[in-house]
Symmetry: C2
Subunit: 118 residues, 2 copies
């Protein structure tokens, strides 16, 4: 007997074909995953959210994020190394700010998504 779902199978095969043709390169997929990875930690996300309100120094970031200076510093390094934030020294302080123009949109997409999780 013929499969009951031949048409479905055909449909899936076409989707798969299209996906294979249009899929991004391995390297590009890793880059995209990496962007999400960076935003995938509460503390890093908090830092980014805070900096989207305005530049500030490590001390304030630690305060806003309710975490230790060391913790913030470590996460800032990751954000810095990935071009998300940049730091500029003003005397004793380091002023951190958002370096990546697109990050606001990505984060806001994530936040907008909250509405439909509820």
């Amino acid at each position: 007997m013929e499969s009951m779902y031949l048409d479905k199978e055909q449909e899936h095969k076409m989707s798969a074909q299209r996906a294979k043709e249009e899929i991004l390169s391995r390297a590009d997929i890793e880059k995209v995953a990496n962007i999400f990875q960076i935003l995938a930690d509460s503390n890093r996300l908090k830092i980014v959210l805070a900096l989207l309100k305005g530049s500030m120094c490590v001390f304030h970031l630690a305060e806003v994020c309710e975490c230790t200076q060391s913790g913030v510093s470590h996460q800032l390094r990751i954000l810095r190394n990935n071009g998300i934030v940049k730091g500029k020294r003003f005397g004793k302080f380091m002023e951190y700010s958002i370096a990546d123009g697109h990050i606001r949109e990505i984060v806001e997409m994530g936040v907008a998504h909250l509405a439909c999780v509820r």
Copy 2:
């Protein structure tokens, strides 16, 4: 002597104040981080990218993603449990498709970001 950067400090203080007032709740931040976490793995992202081209079954997903059936199944479970994809049985096959209307926008933001990483 007064600090050389009193105005900067004032500015930072105001950003911090604003950030503290407007920051999302801890629970919301964790939800947003969680969305990004799910997209933070190459294989899961590949699965999502593939399904955005059209529904397909596990066999095809494994093929498109160049990974094992078991690997795909495990990742599909995570995607399912988080409402990103849904599965429907057709005979022997499970047809997976995107369940979350917003996911396309988020993923596309990430992909669009590629352009400015270069």
